[in-house]
């Protein structure tokens, strides 16, 4: 009995092997993709430009010479001053510290170079007319805040910062420290709707404070920051799915007016 | 040669018949074994429900296996007779049957071991239960004290509901019967806290002191020292209170009670 089974088994294995060989082989047709053609096009190099100022610090009323040198450029534009040759110089007399921008245009594109001329003001020469309009300054801060300060997001029922939030906050701190050092901010803590509203009030508060503590550790003055928890009361996305919830678990930055 | 062929011719039908018979026997045996397995599975389910049934079933199983063994022996002796004819096929089959019967024997052995293990487990469980302090009957034989968890829950429920006379008595009863259990320190603490909540501060201090002296490493020790401090505070004995608050901070610096003690010291204007 066993032998018969054994024979039958051997036979079956052979048959299967033959069948597999027949069909299996068909699939193994080599279809390697052809090697990519060698790149032949040569790219037009982008222009380069280097703008310098001499001296970089002047007293009020004194002049400074801006000079530049460029490669692969057909034309150089000094922003707010005019068009120039690819290499050259011009004299400026700024009434206040100014950042000059030179743009080199060429067949390969355009490139910028900046230099700042700092004007040392004499106290007696300051007149109200030289102070820029307050509105414009505030608008600019607001613009920077609106476009560059990013919100951070949290995991479910968590108030510790994720690696992404960590990165975002380092960038935010840098901007708050260097670009808009005068603005005061409100950090709002928000939660998704899945927890209970009471607990979420505390959780949102904890989130806002995690963000605040991080910024303070990054050198932002605590006096510039106020926190507030909205719990689950002010969702950004009213939906009831993970996509909406993920958006609603956030530390939201608001500019304090 | 012809004789041999003739003999073969005569014996073949018999051997085929035998072979057929043995096959049937084997299938039956196999199904018996499957049945045995199923029964063991059933056993597994019901074993914890009823030890007595388990035992009977196990005995029945063993009987069944013994019967199988006996049948195998019978077949074996029958085949031995047939084997005299020297049929190879039969020898093969016999070998297989031997292996099978050996396996069945093994199964029987394992089952006996299983039965013993179950018996042992039951015994050790009974032992464990008997080791739990079973309170003795009252002299009149009518009152059985409650088991520790129930007695504790009852006393704790009275404590939570504010029936402090009852909770004190309940925890005292608990300690009288189950002094060495895990919750003995809690019981002692709640006696103190029941006094505390009633405003019986000297009694509270005394009861809390027992927590630290009897169960210095219990989890209620920091709370007991803190609460005796608070009891002294309520008795306007600020010096003793301050000393006890400091003791909490010193002895149990990592406990939540240490923070409460610090806060109390701040409120009292000492640090």
């Amino acid at each position: 009995m066993n032998r018969n089974v054994f024979r039958l088994g051997v036979f079956m294995v052979l048959v299967l092997a033959v069948l597999f060989g027949m069909f299996g082989c068909k699939k193994r047709t080599p279809t390697l993709p052809p090697p990519p053609p060698p790149t032949t096009e040569l790219e037009t190099p982008a222009p380069t430009i280097q703008l310098r100022a001499n001296p970089e610090i002047v007293n009020y009323g004194e002049s400074s010479t801006l000079s530049w040198a460029s490669t692969d450029a057909t034309e150089v534009v000094l922003k707010n001053i005019g068009k120039f040759t690819p290499e050259g110089s011009t004299v400026v007399t700024p009434t206040e510290s100014t950042t000059y921008t030179a743009i080199a245009y060429g067949p390969g594109g355009m490139t910028r170079s900046q230099v700042r001329v700092t004007v040392v003001q004499k106290t007696e020469t300051i007149t109200p007319t030289t102070v820029p309009p307050v509105d414009e300054q505030a608008l600019s801060d607001e613009e920077i805040f609106r476009t560059q300060i990013k919100d951070v997001f949290f995991d479910f029922d968590k108030y510790n910062l994720t690696p992404e939030a960590d990165t975002t906050l380092r960038q935010n701190a840098e901007i708050l420290r260097t670009k808009i050092p005068d603005v005061r901010i409100i950090i709002e803590g928000h939660c998704d709707e899945r927890g209970t509203s009471e607990y979420n009030l505390a959780l949102g508060d904890k989130r806002a404070n995690s963000v605040r503590d991080f910024l303070v550790a990054q050198g932002i003055a605590a006096s510039r920051i106020r926190t507030i928890s909205y719990g689950e009361e002010r969702p950004f996305d009213p939906g009831h799915n993970e996509e909406a919830w993920a958006k609603n678990r956030r530390g939201h930055f608001v500019l304090m007016k | 040669m012809r004789k041999i062929i003739l003999l073969l011719l005569f014996t073949l039908p018999g051997s085929i018949l035998l072979q057929g018979g043995t096959k049937e026997e084997l299938i039956r045996l196999q199904s018996d074994i499957v049945a045995a397995q199923n029964q063991i599975r059933l056993l597994q389910k019901s074993i914890d429900e009823n030890g007595a049934i388990t035992k009977t079933l196990l005995h029945q199983l063993l009987d069944l296996l013994n019967q199988n063994n006996r049948q195998i022996d019978q077949i074996r002796s029958y085949q031995d007779e047939q084997l005299q004819s020297g049929n190879e096929n039969i020898e093969d089959i016999v070998n297989e049957i031997r292996m099978l019967s050996a396996k069945v024997d093994e199964l029987g052995l394992k089952l006996t071991t299983l039965a013993r293990t179950v018996e042992d487990t039951k015994q050790s469980l009974e032992e464990m239960q008997s080791r739990r302090p079973t309170p003795e009957k009252a002299p009149d034989g009518s009152l059985m004290p409650l088991p520790p968890d129930q007695l504790y829950s009852l006393a704790y429920n009275d404590y939570i509901m504010g029936n402090y006379e009852l909770s004190i008595q309940g925890f005292l009863d608990y300690l009288a019967l189950y002094k060495d259990t895990e919750f003995a320190d809690n019981a002692q603490y709640y006696i103190g806290d029941s006094y505390f909540n009633q405003g019986r501060y000297p009694d509270a201090v005394e009861a809390f002191a027992q927590v630290t002296s009897l169960f210095p490493n219990g989890d209620k020790a920091p709370a007991a020292v803190l609460k005796s401090g608070l009891a002294y505070l309520n008795m306007s004995n600020n010096d003793s209170a301050i000393e006890l608050f400091r003791q909490v901070i010193r002895t149990y610096p990592d406990s939540p009670e240490a923070n409460i003690a610090k806060q109390q010291l701040q409120i009292l204007g000492v640090e």
């Binding site: 029922d157 899945r194 927890g195 209970t196 509203s197 009471e198 607990y199 009030l201 505390a202 959780l203 508060d205 904890k206 404070n209 503590d213 926190t227 507030i228 928890s229 909205y230 719990g231 009361e233 002010r234 | 397995q37 063991i40 599975r41 056993l43 597994q44 389910k45 074993i47 914890d48 396996k103 093994e106 199964l107 394992k110 089952l111 299983l114 293990t117 179950v118 487990t121 469980l125 829950s153 009852l154 704790y156 429920n157 939570i160 509901m161 504010g162 603490y189 806290d193 909540n197 209620k220 920091p222 709370a223 803190l226 609460k227 608070l230 939540p256 923070n259 409460i260 806060q263 409120i267």
Partner: protein, 444 residues
């Protein structure tokens, strides 16, 4: 062959061990309302001599509301009116006792009454008879402006409940419920009767107003409001709608709970010198402030035990939000929920034995109401398969709970018996949450 047998042995041993545990935690005790007393309520009739037919309108209200109140009180089996003797009962003399005493009716007590309009006042008389002794055991007269017909019915119900329950309950029909209601600008605090009637808006500051609770005298409520930007605590006097700010301020103050003696307030707060939310206790006017949860992490939603010696609250100190209890100093901390899922918004039962809370066993599940017996930690599930059920609050007699649920698609307020039966929807307003049940109405 070998392996399976060893496996079986292991399984059997495991089976023994596991089963032993199961048997120990199978006993569950919980407050079951009784329905032993059979009550008949004969419709109140216009009193003879009444000349203003509009009394019938008020009588209809009273008869309906009183029936509902008595039925929902959990104390009575209301005997259907179709079994009553036919004649109308206005005065005690109209009661034909042999008819009411028929044994197949099995009525224990009979309530009768009448009403009349008199100089623009509604005067209602009510009597209760013990049918065994034919004795009148209650006789009351109420006089008010007709608009308060509902209130009269509630008062009558409370009188009857208080009398026939041997004061186990003073009756909850006159109690009220405060809650948050979503508006275009945030949430405003609203008020309604315990049965959903008589809805009133209490705040209208156009910001977010949250977590309202009653002070013990029922005259004021306390809640969190963003009306001065930060979420801080305020009192509101119901009579005058006057707001008064709680003197302690900080980054966040919320979830107030008034102590049983009415003198202290427990609340969750992040004060300016702290970076996390803790439970604090102070007097109602902010004196004697102390922190009872000096622990990093979130502590929120405190609730006093009826003795005033313990509090329960939510803490994430174990990793997930769970319910803990400690004494009112913060000592003797004990976790009373399983270290699993998400447990929140606890409320301690008026008898002290239970804590009701909202629990989601796993992230995929919904929130349901659970009762835990404090002494044994035994759990009982009160709601199931009906959306999220959150923020429970006990009725003062401990026989009912009010909570929010999104079972109908919008978040609404519901009440339920403490055994999980008799769910009743109180609002259909879209966006009602965090109800707080008042204390017993003040005695007349």
């Amino acid at each position: 062959m070998k392996l399976p047998i060893i496996l079986w042995i292991t399984l059997i041993i495991l089976g023994l061990a596991v089963n032993g545990q199961d048997q120990e935690s199978s006993i569950v005790i919980w407050p079951k309302p009784t329905e032993e007393t059979a009550l008949a309520l004969s419709d109140f009739q216009p009193k003879s001599g009444n000349i203003d037919p509009s009394v019938n309108e008020y009588l209809q209200t009273i008869n309906e509301i009183l029936w509902e109140d008595l039925e929902y009180s959990t104390f009575f089996k209301m005997v259907s009116k179709s079994f009553y003797p036919a004649n109308r009962i206005t005065e005690p003399t109209d009661v034909v006792f042999p008819e009411w005493q028929q044994t197949d009716l099995r009525i224990d007590y009979l309530v009768i009454g009448n009403a009349r309009l008199e100089n623009n006042y509604l005067v209602v008389q009510c009597r209760v008879f013990d049918l065994k002794t034919k004795e009148q055991i209650l006789g009351k007269q109420f006089r008010t402006i007709p608009r308060y017909a509902r209130a009269i019915a509630h008062r009558i119900s409370d009188k009857i409940v208080s009398l026939l329950s041997a004061n186990a309950s003073q009756g909850i029909a006159s109690t009220q419920i405060v809650f948050e209601k979503k508006t275009k600008t945030g949430k405003e605090i609203h008020l309604m009767d315990y049965d959903g009637g008589n809805l009133q808006q209490l705040t209208s500051n156009g910001t977010i107003n949250l977590t309202p609770v009653w002070l013990r005298d029922n005259a004021r409520i306390c809640f969190t409001s963003y009306q001065n930007q930060s979420p801080l605590l305020y009192y509101l006097t119901l009579e005058t709608a006057e707001m008064q700010s709680f003197p302690i301020r900080g980054g966040l103050l919320t979830t107030p709970s008034v102590s049983p003696d009415g003198a202290e307030l427990a609340f969750a707060a992040r004060l300016s010198d702290s970076s996390d939310t803790d439970i604090y206790i102070s007097t109602l006017d902010g004196r004697n402030l102390r922190n009872i949860t000096q622990h990093p992490g979130i502590d929120v939603s405190p609730c006093w035990s009826p003795t005033g010696h313990q509090l329960c609250f939510v803490s994430d100190r174990g990793g997930t939000p769970q319910i803990y209890i400690s004494d009112s100093f913060g000592a003797g901390l004990v976790r009373i929920t399983l270290e699993r899922g998400y447990a929140s918004s606890p409320d301690w039962s008026p008898d002290g034995r239970y804590i009701v809370f909202s629990w989601r066993p796993s992230r995929m599940a919904t929130f349901d109401l659970y009762l835990v017996e404090v002494a044994t930690k035994e759990l009982r599930q009160l709601t199931q398969s009906a959306g999220n059920n959150e923020n429970p609050s006990w009725s003062p007699d401990g026989r009912h709970l009010v909570f929010q649920s999104d079972r109908t698609g919008t978040t609404e307020i519901f009440t339920i018996f403490a055994d999980g039966s008799n769910v009743r929807q109180l609002t259909r307003l879209d966006g009602c949450s965090n109800p707080g049940w008042s204390n017993y109405g003040t005695a007349e």
